[in-house]
Amino acid sequence: MPLPDPDGVPLFAERPEWADVLPLEQYEDVNPIAPIFYTEEYKAATNYFRAIVKAGEKSPRVMELTESVIRQNPAHYSAWQYRYETLTFLLASTTSDSTPKGALPPLLAAELTLMDELAVQFLKTYQVWHHRRLLVSLTKQPSRELALIKRSLEVDSKNYHTWSYRQWLLSSFYGADENGREQDDDDEGETIEAREVWEAELDFVDTMLAQDVRNNSAWHHRFFVVFHSGGTEHEAEKERIFKRELVYAKQSISLAPSNPSAWNYLRGILTHTRTPFATLETFVKPYTVAQKSAGDAEKRDIVDLDNPPPSAEAELPCVQALEFLADIFETQGASEPGKENTEKAVELWKSLANQYDTIRKKYWEYRIREAHHGKEPRT
């Protein structure tokens, strides 16, 4: 005897409009090992879901049934999959005469509204985000998504699905054409300039990093926006962008030096632009020694955009700076006959192994061996 649903909605078995469906039990003849203790409500919904899938029914009531399953278990990918198939079937079979031009079919609009609610509620579920992708691919209206993602990141600022959905959206709809400008979109009846979207995106990253300069998801998004947006082919413009990013990374490091996200970004942009690490030797050095005494603090008043010094409260030396400087020395030493700089790198690695980053002792010792043997790992 099924128990009534606590929210007052009767189970499917008690509803006359479902009387024609014979619910299908999950394990019919076997008493399964390792069962899950389902609630009656979940068991009921999934029994009807199995029956519907088996019958291949794609009707409006399937939307209600799959919603019930999804609300109880948002990771039920088959319910999502069947819901999408039903939705596209119903969209194709309903006439759109009554829908005003430019507006979405009511069914699709209703689905989007429901998804706006579920996206925030089931933030950590793959399927919620993938379903949105499928819907946006149908509506071709990406602009409203950016605002929703922003709201969702306010709840969970490092949510992997949310960030990758944002990147998918931008790369799927805002790639620049050969003029660097976007064609207008007939459905939305407005002209969107890719450039504006990407500039707004950079502001968005700035806001996120201002809230938390250690948010690695935001740093990754910055790299995506700056270097993977198709950008410019113009050399002068490339140079300006690189300089801007360099200043940004260095400023972020000076605020909070022991922030691996900022250092990884710095390394990333140098590698991406094939800029030698050695060009940053002057910047890095103050981070590799103990904090200066009060007398040196006056130097901080001199604004040097190229070489912002560590903040007064920085805990120095900074592990990432020692590593960076050692990398500079290693590269320099590799082309020297006497390998003087290699030994300078080795000294830094030893200090990391024995004092500043002891958990990675094995790795620093490996770096020493590699530098001495002069062999690179094969790829």
């Binding site: 899950i36 203790f37 948002p74 990918y77 920085a314 990675r360």
Partner: protein, 491 residues
């Protein structure tokens, strides 16, 4: 000496605040050397009871959220038994086989439960669970896998860029690629056509940080046209431990094909140096007990013991770390039978001792099962991946050139047109061997776990069992290596 906290540089942010809170909890789990001298114990009995409860009584209601992951619940449970060196009795084995076979989809592949759509992740978990409990013959599971339909299912998910959807109408995700390649390798159904372009796709998921992301995606103009090369193909999402393991394992599984392939384009490459740097940086510092995190500036979590800690063995297959295959004379690495001996010959690239301590001190729930971190509850997923991670930190399992040669020598030639390639794949997957006498077990031999295969996360015996069945080959017995001499150790 109190371990140092992560520097905040007088600049607190939400990340540094949660980090500091976590460190405050973790530090309480580091035993005070003054008050205790007992070595840390792996609570094997408590974990066994946790697993038995899940297997026999069942999973509590909160596991409804994993109703579409029933193959995973079973795989995590039966594989955790294997790592704990426990086998199931024939009656329960049969019940597991019977349950798994209800998930096979009529059109091929396995779903997350009866009547659920086939899915790459569910297929991996089902086939791997069958590797543990199944056998040849009627009702044994192995011969009831419809391999032809499975292959067709795989092909139906294939995308132009070499990637795969995880299920129809679902997302592209490198976890699915790892699952597909593992299953296809074990069941001997890989073809060059199936994996064409897949290595390039994997390579495109590496981010500037060195680790790998969930997927990559090409650029489209607003009008919907695919932008041609050299348009960028960015990674979607940041470098992440789980995806990195899946990409790296896929990359290793694809090596035999890459070596055979004769395409005009240069073979895809990954940046191993940057990957190694990223991986070692995922290990938390002393105050975090040396556990692994899954992303830069995130918190340590027991499951990354496997996803990140386990990835180091895979790097050895690509020539990074590991000296055992350095020359034709095998270089033995033996630091003696004593537990807790950590000498210079041990060439692990991460801190194996610290990782074991994280799991033993913080990863175990006192009432059984393992977990992300204290004060969280234990769950089936973290129980397996903490145990597998612990196992990989205890044992040095590496691709042995000697073992590979034994397998090649024992290969029975078939008239299959792909015979040479199949031989190579078979030899590679089963070449992984444990260095005799090289295990380092924190807490003494009572804490010893079975070694697991770095690619499949099955035991080596189970990997051999299912692979030799589907390739129709006999696996030569393992010859115990002679004790190394003092001269050899010094080499």
């Amino acid at each position: 000496m109190e371990p140092r906290p992560t520097p905040i540089d007088g600049f607190p942010t939400p990340t540094s605040k949660t980090q500091a809170e976590t460190e405050a909890v973790l530090i309480k789990h580091i035993p005070d050397p003054a008050s205790t001298s007992a070595p840390p114990a792996l609570l094997k009995n408590a974990h066994m009871q946790f697993l038995v409860r899940n297997l026999i009584q069942g999973f509590p209601t909160r596991y409804i959220s994993q109703d579409a992951s029933q193959p995973w619940l079973l795989f995590w449970t039966v594989q955790a038994f294997s790592v704990l060196q426990v086998g199931l009795d024939p009656g329960n084995k049969q019940r597991v086989i019977d349950k798994i076979m209800t998930w096979q989809h009529p059109d091929g592949g396995f779903g997350g439960g009866p009547g659920q759509a086939a899915h790459l992740l569910a297929t991996y978990a089902s086939v791997c669970a069958l590797a543990i409990v199944g056998k040849p013959g009627p009702k044994g599971g192995w011969d009831q896998i419809d391999r032809e339909k499975l292959y067709n299912f795989f092909m139906s998910l294939k995308q132009k860029d070499g990637s795969f959807l995880v299920a129809h109408h679902s997302e592209v995700d490198v976890r699915g690629i790892y699952c597909l390649l593992t299953v296809a390798t074990l069941l001997d159904i890989i073809t060059p056509e199936l994996i064409e372009g897949t290595a390039s796709f994997i390579a495109s998921c590496q981010t500037y940080e060195g680790g790998f992301a969930s997927a990559s995606h090409p650029f489209y103009s607003h009008g919907g046209t695919l932008l041609p090369p050299p348009a960028p193909r960015p990674a979607l999402g940041e470098a992440h431990g789980g995806y990195t393991f899946c990409c790296l394992a896929s990359w290793v599984l694809l090596q035999p094909y890459l070596a055979e392939a004769s395409t005009p384009e240069p073979p895809p490459q990954i940046d191993l140096k940057n990957l190694l740097r990223w991986l070692v940086n995922m290990q938390g510092i002393e105050i975090e007990l040396g556990g692994f995190k899954g992303r830069t500036n995130k918190l340590v979590d027991g499951c990354y013991s496997w996803w990140c800690g386990g990835a180091f063995a895979l790097l050895e297959a690509l020539g990074v770390g590991g000296i055992q295959n350095a020359d034709s004379e095998e270089v033995p690495i033996d630091s003696g039978p004593g537990a807790g001996v950590w000498d210079d010959v041990d060439d692990g690239l991460f801190n194996r001792q610290a990782l074991q301590e994280y799991i033993l001190y913080a990863g175990q729930h006192p009432s059984g099962g393992l977990r992300d971190k204290p004060p969280k509850n234990a769950d089936a997923y973290h129980t397996l991946y903490c145990l597998s991670g612990l196992s990989s930190a205890q044992h040095h399992v590496f691709p042995s050139s000697v073992r590979r040669q034994q397998l090649f020598d024992a290969w029975k030639t078939t008239d299959n047109p792909q015979d040479g390639l199949r031989k190579k794949v078979f030899g590679e997957i089963l070449s992984w061997a444990e260095e005799e006498g090289s295990s380092h077990i924190v807490g003494g031999k009572e804490n010893r776990l079975n070694a697991t295969h770095p690619l499949t996360n099955l035991t080596i015996t189970h990997t051999e069992g299912i692979a030799s069945h589907f390739y129709g080959q006999k696996v030569p017995p393992r010859v115990l290596r002679a004790k190394p001499t003092a001269d050899a150790s010094a080499a």
